[in-house]
C-alpha cells in the first residue's frame, strides 16, 4: 500500500511497446500543459471511460497523527489546512515516485479520539491519457498518421467528461446510448471495443508505468501474460473500480482484512505518540493479511480498496475491504506455503495446515472459475507457447507460475497464535445465489446480469468487547454481520450485493460499533442476441473470454514467427473450444433457465435509494441536485422505546423517510451515490438517555424505466 521509495525516472521505456504511433506517447509535454495547472492531480471518481486510464501504478496513501489540543484558535482553519497539505503532498510524491501523473479514486478521512486525530488520504496512482479530451480537434485535422489507437481515442472523445455534460444538456437523443457507456454498469466488458481496435488494450492498463531497473529493491516483475511485452507486478491494489475492457479471469469476490491492536490508555502527547508508533505495525499487518487472503482466494488484484483506521482509548483498529479479481495479465498467485522454525516441533500439524491451505485455494479456484491463461493454452495446444519477445529465453522460467516466487508468501508458524492467523485467512463462501463485492458491479458475472435494484440496506451493530482479544474474535463479528445480511435477504436470490461499505468505530474503551451499508441487486438472464446464446451453450463465457485472448496470442505468434505450422485461422478458435474443459463450478451448473431469476423492472414504487452510481434497468434522465444531511436525535426514554436498538432503528428509518421526502420534493424518484458517513451514538443507561448523529446524502435523480422493448 505505502510505496514511498520508488523513483520513476525513465518513463518512456515502459510505454514504447504498445503505443508506438501517435503523439500520446510524448508525455512530458502533456504534463506541462494541464496537470501542472492542478496543484494536486487528484480525481475522486472511481470509474472512468475506457481508454482514459493507461497504466495503474497502485495504491498510494499517507497518514498523519495530530494533536487537536495544539490549535489555540479553533476558528482559525489555517493549521488544519497545513496538515492536509502535508498529506496531499506526500500522496502526490508517492504517485510521482511510481511514474504516475494522477491519483484516481482519491479520498480523505479522519478518526478522532479525545484530542488525537488521525488524518488519512489514499488513492490509486495512475497514468492517464491526457490526449483523451483536449487534443481531438488537432488529431482529426492535422494528423495523417491516424493510428488505431487514435481512432479508438477519437471515438471515446464522445464519452469524455466535459463533452458528455455538454451533450446531456443539449439532450441529443441519438447520442443517448453512446454518451454514457460507462454508466451502464451492468456491462463490464464490451467485447467489441478494445479487442478489435486495439488488441493490446486489455492488458496495457496493468503494465507498470515505471522502469523495472529503476526499482531500488527486489520486486517481483513478470512479463504480461497476454502480450508478453509489458512488465506486470505480481499483485495490484487499487482504490478504483475495475476499469472497463481490462481482461479478467473468473469472478471477483469480496475481500476483507481486519487488525486490532491494543494500546496503552494515555492522554495528550503521549497518546499521540502511542498511536503514531502503533500505526505502521497496524498497516503492515493489514497489508500482510490482505496479500495472504488474496493468495488464498487464488487472485492477484484488489479493486475498490478502502482502508479505515479507527482509534479508540484502548485499541487501534484497521479495516480493509476490497474486491479481489484475477487480472489475466498478472501471474497466478502461488499457494501460500507454511513454514516453521525448530521451536515448532509438531510436523504433522504443519502438514495439516499446509493441506488445509492448499485445499482452500483449490476450492476457491474452482468456485471463482480461475483458470490461468497459460493452462488454457496448454490444454488446447498441448504445448506451452513460446514467448514472442526478444528476451523470451530468459523469461520462460518466470512463466512457471505455480512454482516460482515462493519466498513472497511464506507464512511463518511459530506459535499457536500463528495457527489462529491462518484460520483467519480462510473466509467462508457466501451462500449459493449470492455474489458479494464492494465495487459497483460483479467482475466476471457472465452467465447472469444485474437487472434490477432490490434493496438498499443499513446495518448497525454495537457490542461490548473485552479488550486484549485476538483478531480472530474480532473477525467473528464481521462474519456474523455478513451472515445476517445473507439471512435477511435469503428470499431474494439470485442476488448481487454490491458496494458494501463498512464502518468501524470504537465509541467506548470496551465497545465496538460496526455499520454496513450495501445494495442488493437482482440477477437475471442477460439479454444477448440468439447467435451468441447458442454459442454460450457450447462454451462457458469464462473460457470464451480466455479463448479470445488465446486467439490474440496466436495472432501475434503467427505474425512474428514464421516456422509455426500454418493453422487455419478460422479453425483455431474452434479447436480451442473443443479442447477447453468446462470449468467445474457448482455455481454455473446450477443456473439453468428454470432457476428463479429476476426480470428487469417496468417501474419502481416510491423512491429508490442506492449507493451505486447507476440504476439497473432504468435510465437516469436528470440529475436534480446533491443532498447532504446531518441529523441529531436525542431521547430520554430509551428503555420505553425498545432499548438502544429501538432508538437507532426508528431514527434510521426516519432519516431514510426524510431523505426520500426531499428526493420527491426535488422532483426525483431515486437517489444514487447514497452514503452514510457518520453514525455516532452516545448512550447513558443510568439516565435512560441516548443521542445519535447521522450524516447521510447522495444525488437526487429522475430515472425512467424502459418499457416492454
Amino acid at each position: 500500500m505505502k510505496r514511498n521509495s520508488l523513483t520513476g525516472s525513465d518513463r518512456s521505456s515502459v510505454m514504447g511497446g504498445h503505443l508506438r504511433q501517435g503523439p500520446a506517447v510524448v508525455r512530458p509535454s502533456m504534463n506541462q500543459e494541464s496537470l501542472d495547472m492542478m496543484e494536486y492531480p487528484f480525481l475522486t471518481m472511481s470509474k472512468y471511460p475506457p481508454g482514459f486510464i493507461m497504466h495503474l501504478g497502485g495504491t498510494v496513501s499517507s497518514r498523519s497523527v495530530k494533536l487537536l489540543e495544539r490549535i489555540t484558535n479553533l476558528e482559525e482553519p489555517e493549521t488544519r489546512d497545513a496538515w492536509w497539505t502535508e498529506i496531499r503532498m506526500e500522496v502526490r510524491s508517492h504517485a510521482r515516485a511510481l511514474g504516475c501523473n494522477v491519483v484516481l479514486g482519491y479520498s480523505e478521512n479522519t478518526s478522532i479520539c479525545d484530542d488525537v486525530c488521525v488524518l488519512s488520504a489514499s488513492g490509486t496512482a495512475a497514468v492517464i491519457n491526457l490526449q483523451f479530451s483536449t487534443n481531438v480537434e488537432q488529431d482529426t485535422s492535422g494528423q495523417h498518421l491516424v493510428s488505431r489507437v487514435h481512432m479508438h481515442n477519437k471515438e471515446l472523445m464522445t464519452t469524455s467528461l466535459d463533452r458528455t455534460d455538454f451533450e446531456r444538456e443539449k439532450t441529443t437523443p441519438q447520442k443517448g446510448d453512446f454518451t454514457l457507456p460507462f454508466m451502464q454498469g451492468s456491462k463490464v466488458r464490451h467485447l467489441s471495443d478494445g479487442y478489435e481496435l486495439d488488441p493490446v488494450s486489455t492488458c496495457s492498463v496493468c503494465h507498470i508505468p515505471y522502469s523495472e531497473c529503476s526499482v531500488p529493491f527486489r520486486v517481483t516483475m513478470l512479463k504480461c501474460a497476454i502480450c508478453r511485452r509489458g512488465k506486470v507486478p505480481d499483485v495490484l491494489f487499487t482504490t478504483i473500480e475495475l476499469p472497463e475492457g481490462v481482461s479478467t479471469t473468473g469472478k471477483g469476490c469480496f475481500l476483507q482484512a481486519y487488525v486490532c491492536r491494543p494500546k496503552r490508555d494515555c492522554r495528550g502527547e503521549l497518546n499521540a505518540k502511542e498511536i503514531s508508533d502503533g500505526l505502521p505495525f497496524l498497516e503492515y499487518e493489514l497489508h500482510r493479511l490482505l496479500i495472504n487472503k488474496l493468495k488464498v482466494k487464488g487472485m492477484n488484484s484488489i479493486f475498490g480498496l478502502k482502508v479505515q483506521v479507527s482509534i479508540g482509548e484502548k485499541m487501534l483498529v484497521g479495516l480493509a475491504t476490497g474486491t479481489a479479481v484475477y487480472l489475466t495479465p498478472l501471474p497466478m498467485p502461488p499457494v501460500p506455503k507454511v513454514s516453521a522454525d525448530n521451536t515448532w516441533a509438531d510436523d504433522k500439524k504443519l502438514t495439516e495446515i499446509q493441506k488445509l491451505l492448499q485445499d482452500t485455494v483449490k476450492k476457491n479456484r474452482e468456485v471463482y472459475q480461475l483458470k490461468p491463461l497459460i493452462e488454457l493454452e496448454f490444454q488446447s495446444n498441448g504445448r506451452i507457447p513460446a514467448s514472442d519477445t526478444e528476451e523470451s529465453d530468459d523469461e520462460l522460467p518466470d512463466l512457471d507460475l505455480a512454482t516460482g516466487n515462493k519466498d513472497t508468501c511464506v507464512l511463518e508458524v511459530d506459535d499457536a497464535e500463528d495457527v489462529d492467523v491462518i484460520s483467519l485467512l480462510i473466509d467462508p463462501h457466501p451462500p449459493e445465489g449470492f455474489y458479494v463485492v464492494n465495487t459497483e458491479t460483479v467482475p466476471g458475472l457472465d452467465d447472469q446480469e444485474i437487472v434490477k435494484n432490490l434493496q438498499m440496506f443499513t446495518q448497525v451493530w454495537r457490542a461490548k468487547i473485552p479488550t486484549g482479544q485476538p483478531t480472530s474474535v474480532f473477525s467473528k463479528h464481521f462474519h456474523r454481520l455478513l451472515q445476517s445480511v445473507y439471512f435477511k435477504l435469503r428470499r431474494m436470490v439470485p442476488c448481487a450485493l454490491c458496494d458494501l461499505q463498512f464502518g468501524v468505530e470504537l465509541p467506548e474503551p470496551d465497545e465496538l460499533q460496526i455499520s454496513v451499508l450495501g445494495m442488493a441487486l437482482g440477477l437475471g438472464e442477460p439479454e444477448r442476441p440468439s447467435s451468441k446464446l447458442k454459442k454460450k451453450t457450447v462454451v462457458s463465457s469464462t473460457s470464451k473470454e480466455a479463448i479470445k485472448k488465446a486467439d490474440e496470442c496466436e495472432l501475434i505468434f503467427n505474425l512474428d514467427e514464421d516456422h509455426v505450422a500454418p493453422e487455419n485461422p478460422a479453425a483455431a478458435p474452434l479447436q480451442v473450444q473443443l479442447g477447453c474443459p468446462r470449468p467445474h463450478s457448482p455455481l454455473r451448473i446450477k443456473i439453468p433457465q428454470s432457476k428463479p431469476h429476476h426480470t428487469p423492472p417496468r417501474e419502481r414504487y416510491g423512491v429508490d435509494m442506492t449507493p451505486l452510481s447507476y440504476v439497473p434497468g432504468g435510465k437516469i434522465e436528470r440529475y436534480l441536485g446533491n443532498l447532504n444531511f446531518f441529523f441529531i436525535r436525542e431521547s430520554t426514554c430509551i428503555r420505553e422505546g425498545g432499548g438502544l436498538s429501538g432508538f437507532v432503528h426508528s431514527f434510521v428509518t426516519e432519516v431514510l423517510a426524510i431523505v426520500r421526502a426531499h428526493v420527491t420534493a426535488l422532483g426525483g424518484n431515486a437517489m444514487v451515490a447514497y452514503f452514510m458517513s457518520e453514525c455516532v451514538l452516545y448512550h447513558n443507561p443510568h439516565k435512560n438517555q441516548g443521542q445519535c448523529l447521522i450524516n447521510v446524502g447522495g444525488d437526487v435523480v429522475y430515472v425512467s424505466y424502459y418499457s416492454e422493448d
Binding site: 451462500p431 434493496q455 438498499m456 440496506f457 443499513t458 446495518q459 448497525v460 451493530w461 454495537r462 457490542a463 461490548k464 468487547i465 456474523r480 451472515q483 445476517s484 445480511v485 439471512f487 435477511k488 435469503r490 428470499r491 465497545e511 460499533q513 414504487y605 416510491g606 423512491v607 429508490d608 435509494m609 425498545g642 438502544l644 436498538s645 429501538g646 437507532v648 432503528h649 426508528s650 434510521v652 428509518t653 426516519e654 431514510l656 423517510a657 426520500r660 421526502a661 451514538l681 448512550h683
Partner: protein
C-alpha cells in the same frame, strides 16, 4: 455475546410473511424464534439461532412501529416513514385484521368496553388463542364498529373503504357489526353450540333480505331492518286461521318423501310448528322479539324437531313445502303479503337449515 445495538434497516420495508404471522398471532419474540426453529429454519438456511433471533427482533421492531399506522389503514398508504410496496401493504393490513371465528364468537353480543377487554384472558383460555391476539381482535372489532356504526350506506362497502380490507374479510366484519347494531341475543346457553360461521351465514341472509333495499339514496343503510316490512309481517297471522288448509297441502306434498313414522309425527305436530313460525313473524316488529330471534328459532323450532330427530333433508323438504304451499293458498293472493311471506321465509329457511346441527 449480547449486542447493545443490532439493527437492519432497508429502504423498502421488508416484511417476512412467516414472522409477521407469528407477530399477529401474539407470539413474543422468543416464542417466535422457538416456533421458527421448530419449523426447521436453521436446517434450511444454515443460520445460527442467534441470527434468527436478531432477524425476528428486527421484524418485531418494525411491526411495532407500524402497528399505530395499521389502526388506520388508509394512513398506511399516505405515511412517509415506511416505504411499503403495495402488495406488502395489502399483506400487512389483511393479516392484521384477520380474525379467528372462535374468538369473535366469544365477543358477539358482548359490549365492546374496556371492562370486557380485561376479561379476554378467559376467551384466550377457551379458544387457545394467545391473549395478545385476542386483544388485537377485540380492538380491531371495536375500531371497525366505532367507525362504521353510524355511517350511511352499505356497511361492507364502508368497511372496505375505511379499512382497505378484501371483500370476504369486509363481509365478515360487516356481519359482526350488523349483529352488534341489532343487538341480537347470541350468548344464551342454548345458543352456545352455534359457531361464528353460523351467525355469519344468518346475518348475511338477514342483511340481504330484511334491511332497506339499496335504492341508491344516501340514507340507505343495511344495518337497520326494514320497519315497514316487519310491521307487514303481522298480516301473516291469517295463515294460522287457515291452518287446516295449509296442513293439508303440506302433508299431501310431503307424504311420498317422508317415512311413515315422520309423516305421522308431522301430521300431529303441524299445528305447533306453524304457530311457532308464523308467531315469530308476527312479533318481529317488537325489538325485544327481534333481538331474541336466534333463541326463538332454537327454542320453538329446532328443539322440537331435534326431539323427533328429523334429518336435515326432512327439514329442508318440510320448509320448502311449507313455504310453497302457503303461496298456493288464496289468503296469500295479495301481492304485498305474498312478497312479505317470500322475504320472511327465504331468510328463516336459510337460517334454520344452517342452525340445524348439533
Amino acid at each position: 455475546m449480547f449486542a447493545d445495538v443490532d439493527v437492519f434497516i432497508s429502504n423498502y420495508t421488508l416484511v417476512d410473511p412467516e414472522v409477521y404471522q407469528l407477530w399477529v398471532d401474539g407470539c413474543s419474540s422468543s416464542e417466535a424464534v422457538t416456533a421458527l426453529n421448530q419449523r426447521g429454519v436453521i436446517q434450511q438456511t444454515g443460520a445460527t439461532l442467534e441470527l434468527v433471533a436478531s432477524d425476528v427482533l428486527d421484524h418485531y421492531r418494525t411491526y411495532s412501529l407500524l402497528e399505530r399506522l395499521l389502526h388506520n389503514p388508509p394512513k398506511l398508504a399516505e405515511q412517509l416513514a415506511f416505504q411499503i410496496e403495495p402488495q406488502t401493504r395489502r399483506l400487512l393490513i389483511e393479516k392484521y385484521y384477520e380474525f379467528d371465528g372462535a374468538v369473535i364468537r366469544e365477543l358477539l353480543g358482548k359490549k365492546l368496553s374496556s371492562r370486557h377487554r380485561k376479561d379476554l384472558d378467559e376467551v384466550s383460555e377457551k379458544t387457545c388463542v394467545l391473549l395478545k391476539s385476542c386483544r388485537r381482535q377485540f380492538d380491531n372489532v371495536k375500531r371497525v364498529f366505532k367507525v362504521v356504526e353510524d355511517m350511511q350506506g352499505s356497511v361492507v362497502q364502508n368497511i372496505k373503504t375505511n379499512f382497505l380490507l378484501p371483500e370476504e374479510l369486509a363481509r365478515r366484519y360487516g356481519a359482526v357489526v350488523f349483529i352488534a347494531c341489532i343487538k341480537f341475543e347470541t350468548s344464551k346457553k342454548k345458543l352456545q353450540y352455534l359457531t361464528f360461521p353460523d351467525f355469519y351465514h344468518c346475518a348475511q341472509s338477514i342483511m340481504a333480505s330484511w334491511t332497506y333495499v339499496d335504492n341508491g339514496s344516501p340514507e340507505y343503510d343495511d344495518t337497520e331492518l326494514d320497519r315497514e316490512f316487519l310491521l307487514d309481517l303481522r298480516e301473516l297471522r291469517i295463515l294460522l286461521d287457515k291452518e287446516k288448509e295449509h296442513k293439508h297441502l303440506v302433508c299431501q306434498k310431503l307424504k311420498p318423501q317422508l317415512l311413515e313414522r315422520s309423516y305421522q309425527e308431522l301430521d300431529s305436530n303441524f299445528r305447533s310448528y306453524t304457530r311457532a313460525l308464523v308467531g315469530l313473524a308476527c312479533n318481529l316488529h317488537r325489538s325485544r322479539e327481534l333481538r331474541s330471534l336466534f333463541l326463538e328459532l332454537v327454542e320453538r323450532c329446532l328443539e322440537p324437531w331435534r326431539q323427533v330427530s328429523w334429518s336435515h333433508t326432512d327439514l329442508r323438504n318440510f320448509l320448502s313445502s311449507y313455504y310453497q304451499c302457503a303461496l298456493e293458498m288464496d289468503v296469500l293472493r295479495e301481492a304485498d303479503l305474498k312478497n312479505s311471506w317470500e322475504r320472511y321465509m327465504t331468510v328463516i329457511t336459510s337460517c334454520l337449515l344452517r342452525m340445524y346441527h348439533a
